[in-house]
Amino acid sequence: MRGACVFSGSSHPSLVEAICERLGTKPAKVQLKKFANGETSVEIKESVREKDIFVVQSGSGQINDNVMELLIMISACKGGSAKSITAVMPYFPYSRQSKRKTHRGAITARMLANLLNVAGVDHVITVDLHANQMQGFFKCPVDNLLAEALLAKWLRTNVPEWWEAVVVSKNPGGTKRVTSLADALKLSFGIVTTDRRRPHQQPSLNASMLNSTIFESMGTNGTNDTAEMGRELEEVEAIVEVSDEDPHAPIEQDFAPRNATPRTHADLTENRARRPSKHRAATAGLAPTLRTRVINGSSDTPSSPLARSTRLDSVGKEDAVMPDDSEGLGLQRRYTAPGIEQPPPDDDGYEASDGDDEGDERARDVITGRLIHGHIVDDDEVHSPNMSVQSGSNENGEGSGQRDSRSSEDEPLPEPMAQSFMSTASTHSRMLQPQYGLGGTGDATASDEEEEEALKDPEIESTVTLVGNVRDKPVLIVDDMIDKAGSWIAAAETVVKRGGATKVYCMATHGLFGGDCLRELDMCDEIEAIVVTDAFPVPPEKRRQSKKLVVLDVSGLLSEAIRRNHHGESISQLYTHFD
């Protein structure tokens, strides 16, 4: 390539070699070392004046050194009068910190984008950003390449009967990535979600920060018990949500007066019967596997501001015939603040063509299991392990089984999960990190790290829910990165032991493999293969740790993106047709 230089950072030289070989050039000369005190030193050894510069830097164990090195290299090229500077970052560091997870947390990914900008970058090429929205952090153009086509190609050549396979997301936040692969290969898909049970409910952190109306209502009850406080809060929320008897009226209008009135038993029951027509919704984003869900939403109100998401599930009746109070509380927990977990309206319409013929049945392909120490355990009290897969009238069996297995009646019950996927997601994020309610994020991807911690904690028993039918089919668990093993193993065991899947393939773009992750995945019998790309360097000693590991080459994708960028050609073909 005339007028272009490819510089390699120290994180992933082998990838740069491969890229340069495909481009028919050699990596430009640069001396990277450290001063005695550990400061990074960069010497650009050839002229960059009026050239297109591509600096390739991924991550590694020394990620902050890699970041500084990249910034200094960009700055040096800028100072050396380069025409344009493109940062090629197959793995974007700090991409998991793309939003404020806790109070006063930093949005480090945005800061890094700004740092690249001040260093003097003109263009960024990256692969499978953790969140697509991060492209908006930059002032310069970003090409977010997708490794999906690579994974799809591997799949078609290496997985027997791949057309039978089911693509599974191991958390609700990653669903979009999964559906994209499923759509490309015309496969069906499913979701595994983990939901932490709280044996002893902690006073929620946000209790002190919620608005004063809540304290008002607590004062009238005269309760100071912290455990009670949590429940009170949820009751209040539930009431806030269900209180709009007139669906046309805005919720806010009902808020204050409702809270002030003493809540009676009858009040709750009455509201519960009504509630589904308004807030039990949110199945819109789900693809064909959930089609069994039923609509009987005759009371749907198109003029409501929430009209797009108010389609009904089948739950109204059951709730109405179960007047048990503690049970009711358990159910109410599922309803979080309105507005946070609205389904994306763009996917709306999936269920529009479904008929009413299935009456009040629940979704059939929903399976739950218990997860202790990150592994699936048998739930002895459940009558049949595969109760909810084949039979259409198993709700009661499953429900009572789950209830018996628990000591306390007011534990949250898994039934609502069976009714609404989105409500599961909201509960999930809220139970793990109560602060989310304030952080303003309803995105479950934030919980990755916390989820891993929960899986490790022996005190915590989680309920894992599998949505989608995987029986006798190979399963592809897909996410954007593999860092810790816990959630992958939990998901793999769930689909095999509970769902009856034949084989499990773990697929991700970035194989970070922190700690003992690779060894743990290798030892998990349910997993057939672990497929990653070499966008993030997988050192040879790690590759030797696992016989199941497959590392795909992304150099072709990156070199093509570099070539097209240099010559000013479109790169949009790379999103779909790359082989």
Binding site: A36, E39, G105, D483
Partner: protein
Amino acid sequence: MAMATNSIKLLTGNSHGGLAKLVADRLGIELAKIMVLQYSNNESSISIGESVRDEDVFILQSTEPGNINDHIMELLILINACRTASARRITAVLPNFPYARQDKKDKSRAPITAKLMANMLQTAGCNHVITMDLHASQIQGFFNVPVDNLYAEPSTLRWIRDNLPVRDCVIVSPDAGGAKRATSIADGLDLGFALIHKERARPNEVSRMVLVGDVRDRIAIIVDDMADTCGTLVKAAEVVMEHGASQAIAIVTHGILSGNACEKLNNSRLQKLVVTNTVPHEEKKRKCERIETIDISPTLAEACRRTHNGESVSFLFKHAPLD
């Protein structure tokens, strides 16, 4: 009225907890609670355990040899976290400004990393910088925000007066660039002054040296802004001893002491190396008994206090607060 509730919050990363504690004690406040975690791939993650909304935030971060880039990222993330948490003003207190020596394009295509650092600090959301004995004062001009460059000189002068027979001393600059610093100290003590001219081959390696001035039968005090691998200081000590000095003592502001600096010092003719505590060096003190410490935390604390209260900082350029 809102101003009245505004108070100092002092935060620190993992780099130099000891100094931060001293500054906090001096200010009579507690260090703010923060949690610094590392992801399994060594990305730093930070959460700040108390509210900083509308507070005057000071973030003290030094850099320890070996983990400099980690400490820089930690600092930037801390600044950014406070910025997004609605702090009123964020002041980075960098006793030892990292990458200060890469401040010019001395070769073709050499990066001006000190400028990059300045840009990065501002991008992260820093409103003010307090630092000490910058390698080159011009670095202040790299920033678009105010930079207070404090001097360790008043503390150094006090240490010399308290610990050495001042009349028998001579101040020596180990290189031409440090002549200004050395003359300033010499003037402060009303002493003579000498200079060593050196020809530097490569960074961290020292070659021929020529002494200009008289050091005979005096205690030669070699002053510099930083002691990294100590090659310069050891060579300079050789030179002054060869020229008949009775004793060679070095006083530097930033004791980075990387590599095998401790062994070099132990085998050198340098009797004493006096450093300030801008860089953590407790470990090295155990390895090398010739190292002594001047505590500059009162100066830093006073600078923070004066900045917070809107008082003049320039008083500190000439005076060290009393212990």
